[in-house]
Assembly symmetry: C2
Homo-oligomer: 298 residues x 2
């Protein structure tokens, strides 16, 4: 199974399709809902007393192991953001760390032997702490965000050095390397340590650099985007969730994982927050995969 360490949050999201207040979000949440289509992911995170037990219960019903989610006194991490009408820009209006401010991931003993550990976009110091606790034999895949590239670059470089793979979006890859050209950025990031670099390009699909080869995948064509929040985290969940069931992590399984990430995230953006993921079944994913495969084959 996979283990994820990241944020669990309330989000207020405003975009051209409307506004949703204090809906459930967070990188771990999206990851876990997506990965649970393939396996039983284990979540380590922290919520406040205001977090709905209903959601924790629902996660459990989906086969997500929530034992690692601690409830602390206080409020759950809160983020408020607004998208430009064409979704090309996102402005953070409020970020209240609340109980997340002192989050210090403690990995339960029976979470330490998981096959893949996904380090979501938490501070690189915390990512390091997870690596220390689970031991170096795990297969580590990390994400990050612009904040850490800006304020914690040195620590981030150390984390990148110690992971097996990194999933990062195009803007972050450019910011991290100072390279405009994504192929070059991918090569540079790989030279820092990981055996694969996966770059998410939003509406342009995704790209893998592994064993000195590039693999470029188109998006599943979605004409209407209702809310792109969590698309990247659910891509990671689909990708890692699928990979967890594979015997070998090699070019073929990484490619297939990317396809599943692509498909799962194409559902995420069909509704606000986790709404679409809550109703999503493996069968829906397989049906859309068939369609995608037909599109891609020639």
């Amino acid at each position: 199974m996979s283990l994820v360490v990241g944020s669990i949050a309330f989000d207020t999201i405003k975009n051209i399709h409307g506004k949703r207040e204090r809906i459930v979000g967070g990188s771990s949440t999206y990851y876990a809902y997506a990965a649970s289509l393939f396996e039983n992911p284990k979540v380590v995170g922290v919520v406040g007393e205001d977090f709905p037990e209903e959601i924790i219960g629902e996660m459990g019903d989906r086969g997500i192991d929530t034992k690692g989610i601690e409830t602390e006194k206080g409020k759950t991490f809160f983020w408020e953001g607004e998208y430009s009408d064409d979704f090309s820009e996102r402005t953070s209006l409020k970020t209240e760390l609340n109980v997340f401010e002192h989050f210090n991931p403690k990995i339960p003993d029976d979470y330490k032997e998981e096959k893949i550990v996904f380090l979501a976009n938490i501070a690189p110091e915390l990512q390091q702490k997870v690596i220390e606790q689970t031991g170096k034999d795990r297969y580590f895949i990390m994400d990050t965000m612009n904040l850490w590239i800006n304020i914690s670059r040195e620590k981030l470089m150390e984390t990148i050095k110690s992971v097996n793979g990194i999933i990062i979006n195009d803007e972050e890859a450019k910011m991290l390397t100072g390279e405009h050209y994504l192929f070059e950025a991918a090569k540079q990031i790989k030279s820092l340590g990981p055996e694969f670099v996966l770059i998410k390009k939003g509406e342009h699909g995704s790209m893998l650099y592994f064993e000195d080869k590039f693999f470029v995948l188109p998006p599943y064509p979605k004409e209407v985007v209702i809310d792109p929040t969590g698309a990247g985290d659910s891509y990671a969940g689909g990708f890692v969730g699928f990979l967890n069931n594979e015997d070998k992590i090699n070019a073929l399984s990484l490619k297939k994982g990317m396809v599943y990430g692509t498909i799962v995230s194409s559902f995420t953006i069909e509704d606000f927050g986790i709404e679409r993921l809550r109703k999503l079944k493996r069968e829906d994913v397989e049906n859309r995969l068939k369609e995608y495969k037909e599109m891609i084959n020639f």
Copy 2:
């Protein structure tokens, strides 16, 4: 066979890899070199007395029919441009129309029954004249450019209305429709008349809208771009050249055409101007296609 009407030019190109002065270029030229890998395209265009006979001869050797290229008194169309170091921007430094200023395409009688007519990025009025001369039974595919969208929008709309397909780049599609979102832009352009809309997205691949379905294709991964000039025109040449040999123009043949366009243009950008295309063989294209197919399959 296909018929192309467009520019034949001298280009001076400056970019991060160097500068080339007065090398052979032009939309028809790139198109014809690319299409000649598949068929014997016929070219209608105009050059000045300064245009090298060697190139006209070389075109002939490649099976390109150059009878429709007129030599007029004066100089060949000249363009000078400079690319930003990351190739994200291109600045026109000089445009001297020369003999192209009074170009009035005259289609030789034995060019009027070609299966596909490709209207390269010339003025919409001239595109109309070609349609009038060849009659409406041809399969018309057009390109255009920002200039005509800006200064000749109305005429352009008329041309779009009368063609079967349009190949356009992402920026032009957005400019033409005022839509940021490419899927929406493609739909809007199709609603103007053509049965297919093909959007070229440069480093992000290409996208087709046909029969209410989208088909998205990744690029062939090229780590180093030497010169992107002519990439779009040679994509069109590979696409149409392939399509010319197909019995039916349907979703499958259009998709395959896109794959050939993708592969041919991935060679174009390996050297300045038409240098790489001059040496390119169908065999090279088929070999890279195999590699691409392996990359895309999962």
